[in-house]
């Protein structure tokens, strides 16, 4: 195993997640055009469907992974001093993990309700 940060793996994850993001985004767009949820309860029952819930979890997992690779690329390009780079990457990592947990909470709560 290399001590370097990933190159091929990050690049592949970014492409693969992009494909899923486009497909699920199109599905959501069509769903909201054809059958937009009228109120909070309708939202909740939509998210509570097992396939939608699973699809949404994958969507946000892809989104956060995609964001991580993209932001990491920007930081590697433009932020050169090591201390600042490590701090920025760590802060972004925490924010993304926080987002992931929040999404998980929302979707689980919708399923429990």
């Amino acid at each position: 195993m290399s001590r370097r940060a990933s190159g091929l793996k990050a690049w592949f994850l970014q492409r693969a997640s992009a494909i899923y993001l486009i497909l699920f985004f199109l599905y959501m767009l069509l769903h909201f055009i054809a059958d937009a949820p009228a109120d909070h309860a309708a939202w909740q029952s939509w998210v509570a469907q097992p396939l939608v819930g699973f699809g949404l979890l994958l969507f946000f997992a892809s989104l956060l992974l995609h964001a991580w690779v993209g932001i990491r690329d920007v930081v590697i390009d433009y932020v050169h001093p090591t201390a600042i780079r490590v701090s920025v990457l760590t802060a972004i990592g925490f924010v993304l993990i926080g987002c992931a947990l929040w999404v998980l909470q929302v979707i689980i709560l919708a399923h429990v309700a």
């Binding site: 290399s2 370097r4 940060a5 990933s6 190159g7 091929l8 990050a10 690049w11 592949f12 990491r72 690329d73 590697i76 390009d77 433009y78």
Partner: protein
């Protein structure tokens, strides 16, 4: 015709400046001819050039914001006033002459020669016409540096990102049926820097005077890597 050139002599100038010259345009005049005409007026003006026909790759310059080979760039294609500067991002030695050592160091990193593991045969190593065709678009590089010095990823990380020129060469040897060091070559390119700083900005394709496509070569290396990894 007005030509404005970048001047900097580190021994006498505190900072670089642009100097304007009036030159007599001629039929079929190339930028190199214009620079020579400038030199006729001020012999201290310095730039590299040699073959004068787009083969040696010595007279790469930045003209009106794009990297070009002066000897094959017709003056008639350039908007006045013509502004000629050294390659961006490279340390200036004098006027249009820049230090390209880092560019050559990156080239050296990709081991730009055939590597054989089997013993060398008595005769030359034969290659089918189809395999030979795979080198087209890769071997023609004259290493003028127009691509790498126009690449923002190379500007930000010139010490770590190999740049389009070196990666085109890496692809040239990966594509060669006679080469036997594919694994080592791929391992050498792994990590976030050497290959993967390329964000397909495609300035390299835009600037290549030989109409080569380093972005495509980089995509090809990524495809070989992926195929090799899974």
């Amino acid at each position: 015709m007005k030509v404005s050139v970048y001047r900097y002599n580190p021994e006498t100038d505190n900072e670089p400046y642009m100097q304007e010259f009036e030159i007599e345009p001629r039929q079929g005049m190339m930028l190199r001819d214009a620079l020579l005409a400038v030199q006729d007026q001020d012999e201290s003006f310095t730039f590299r050039h040699s073959c004068g026909e787009g083969v040696c790759g010595s007279d790469g310059v930045n003209v009106n914001g794009s990297n070009k080979l002066a000897c094959i760039t017709p003056m008639s294609e350039l908007k006045e006033p013509v502004e000629v500067r050294p390659f961006p991002g490279r340390p200036v030695i004098r006027d249009l002459v820049v230090d390209m050592s880092q560019f050559y160091a990156q080239y050296k990193q990709v081991d730009p020669w055939l590597i054989r593991k089997e013993p060398m045969p008595e005769q030359e190593i034969l290659q089918s016409p189809e395999d030979r065709d795979k080198l087209d678009g890769l071997y023609e590089c004259i290493m003028c540096g127009c691509c790498s010095t126009s690449c923002p990823s190379f500007w930000w990380n010139p010490d770590k990102f190999l740049g389009p020129q070196a990666l085109l060469s890496a692809c040239r040897f990966l594509a060669d049926s006679r080469d036997q060091a594919k694994e080592e070559r791929l391992d050498n390119l792994e990590g976030p820097y050497k290959l993967f700083r390329c964000h397909t900005i495609m300035n390299c394709v835009e600037s290549c005077p030989k109409n080569l496509n380093p972005t495509k070569a980089i995509g090809h290396i990524k495809a070989i890597m992926l195929k090799d990894a899974i």
